[in-house]
């Protein structure tokens, strides 16, 4: 298997491969997101309890779950880099971190926007919002650590260790926050009822979810390519690219 993988572990090959894949993923993402979001925002039925404000669900839930997914993806990349010394794995983790942070932030903002009509305030210390906030801190920590090193290779390794420590902690943090939340829950906070999903709601949700996944893949690929270039600036093929002036 490693023999087969070997050519893809070469920065140059990976750079060109991702370059060819990006257009396809972008089309997929645009089509899926358009279908999903237009359907979700215009045609799917409003929730019988929450009305139209429910529609933010189609953005909030994908960004919340995917942000967690990105962190796990970074942790897997970090593990590959530490265990198998794959140099590109570091670059992919570095590419993912800011995207993860942005999606976490989006989930917080949409969560607050959803919370305003539901709970009457922008922010409550709800278990899910709180753990999402802590996830944002974890992302920002990884990014800050990465930026603090001048040497990209060292930066990648250090950020990788932190990501692994973080990924072990995430379930513990999540559990502790949930536990803390149930403990301190006063009478004022009414738990949001689980919205019952009809098929009309499920399909647009699936479309927009898949659309977001491909969006993340596309942005990751673009950032990944930049990271590869930044790390291989002294290589001949990068210099050739710069001279040719095209991607």
């Amino acid at each position: 298997m490693w023999k087969w993988l070997h050519p893809y572990a070469k920065p140059e090959t990976t750079y060109h491969l991702t370059g060819r894949l990006i257009p396809w993923f972008s089309y997929l993402s645009i089509i899926l997101l358009t279908i999903g979001l237009v359907w979700a925002l215009l045609f799917s039925p409003a929730d019988y309890q929450q009305g139209d404000s429910f529609r933010i669900f189609y953005i909030h839930v994908p960004s919340a779950t995917l942000s967690m997914g990105i962190y796990v993806g970074m942790a897997i990349a970090a593990l590959c880099s530490i265990v198998w010394q794959l140099k590109l794995a570091d670059a992919s983790a570095a590419a993912m971190a800011p995207i993860g942070a942005v999606f976490t932030f989006i989930s917080l903002v949409t969560g607050a926007a959803w919370g305003k009509p539901m709970w009457g305030t922008w922010w409550i210390w709800d278990a899910r919002l709180t753990s999402q906030l802590i996830l944002l801190f974890l992302f920002l920590g990884v990014i800050a650590l990465h930026n603090a090193f001048e040497d990209k290779v060292m930066a990648g390794k250090a950020a990788g260790i932190l990501t692994l420590v973080g990924v072990i902690n995430i379930p513990i943090i999540k559990y502790s926050v949930e536990w803390w939340n149930t403990l301190h829950q006063g009478a004022t906070v009414s738990k949001m009822g689980k919205p019952s999903m009809t098929l009309d709601m499920l399909w647009p949700f699936i479309f927009s979810y898949m659309g977001f996944i491909f969006l993340i893949v596309v942005i990751t690929c673009i950032r990944f390519r930049t990271e590869i270039l930044a790390r291989n600036g002294m290589r001949q093929w990068v210099r050739d690219l710069a001279v040719k002036g095209e991607s």
Binding site: E150, D151, V153, R231, G233, M234
Partner: protein
């Protein structure tokens, strides 16, 4: 291991080392061997990667590519065994200002598995007699370096890797050290060192590894 065989076997072997620092290739595909009895001087201008090479050989840094072998196994895999047979002194002497010269040496010796009882005697070897109980913070840079170097007189490790051992050492001290290196090599050890001073050994006694400063190509 019998001694005739061990004389021909390299103590330390570097294969195909490449080192990249902050996007600059310091050296590429570097091969070297340290045989018993070798004194190897790594030379090159500032910034050419001498320290990086020594740190890679000591196992403190990982090379971008390539491998360092001790006893035919990669030092990453057998690092406890390797460190047992290695004495490395870096730029920094590793001397604590809050402890006395003797305490510093005692700690250094015990950390590397040597008997701390001889610390006082060893300090005499490096001309620090009378300073045993002085706090290291009251001593000079040269004296700090001497405390660090004192380990050489106790060490049984065959591989010595020394980064600028003569920094801040006076002429007599340098002479002493050179004699020590020669004795160590003649006993079947090897010394790998960087220095900007000329060594007083005969030309054929010292092997040289020369690194060049490489600009962006």
């Amino acid at each position: 291991m019998n001694s005739t065989e061990s004389l021909n076997q390299p103590l330390l072997e570097a294969n195909n080392l490449t080192c990249i620092r902050e996007d600059r290739v310091l050296f590429e595909s570097l091969n070297m061997q340290a045989l018993p009895g070798d004194i190897i001087q790594v030379e090159g201008p500032n910034g050419s990667g001498k320290t990086s090479l020594l740190r890679i050989l000591a196992g403190l840094s990982r090379p971008y590519e390539g491998d360092v072998l001790f006893n035919k196994t990669s030092i990453g895999k057998a690092h406890e065994d390797y460190h047992q047979n290695l004495l490395y002194l870096g730029h920094l002497p590793g001397v604590k200002g809050e402890m006395t010269a003797q305490e510093n040496l005692e700690f250094n010796l015990s950390l590397h598995g040597m008997a701390p009882e001889n610390a006082e005697k060893t300090l005499a070897e490096v001309n620090l007699l009378g300073f045993e109980d002085a706090l290291a913070s009251h001593l000079s840079a040269g004296q700090h370096r001497r405390i660090a170097l004192a380990k050489l007189w106790q060490s049984k490790a065959p591989i010595w890797i020394l980064d600028e051992p003569f920094t801040a050492i006076d002429k007599l001290g340098v002479k002493n050290l050179e004699a020590k290196f020669l004795q160590h090599a003649n006993n079947g050890g090897c010394v790998i060192l960087t220095t900007h001073q000329d060594l007083s050994f005969p030309e054929n006694r010292v092997k040289k590894v020369t690194l060049q400063y490489r600009f962006f190509k």
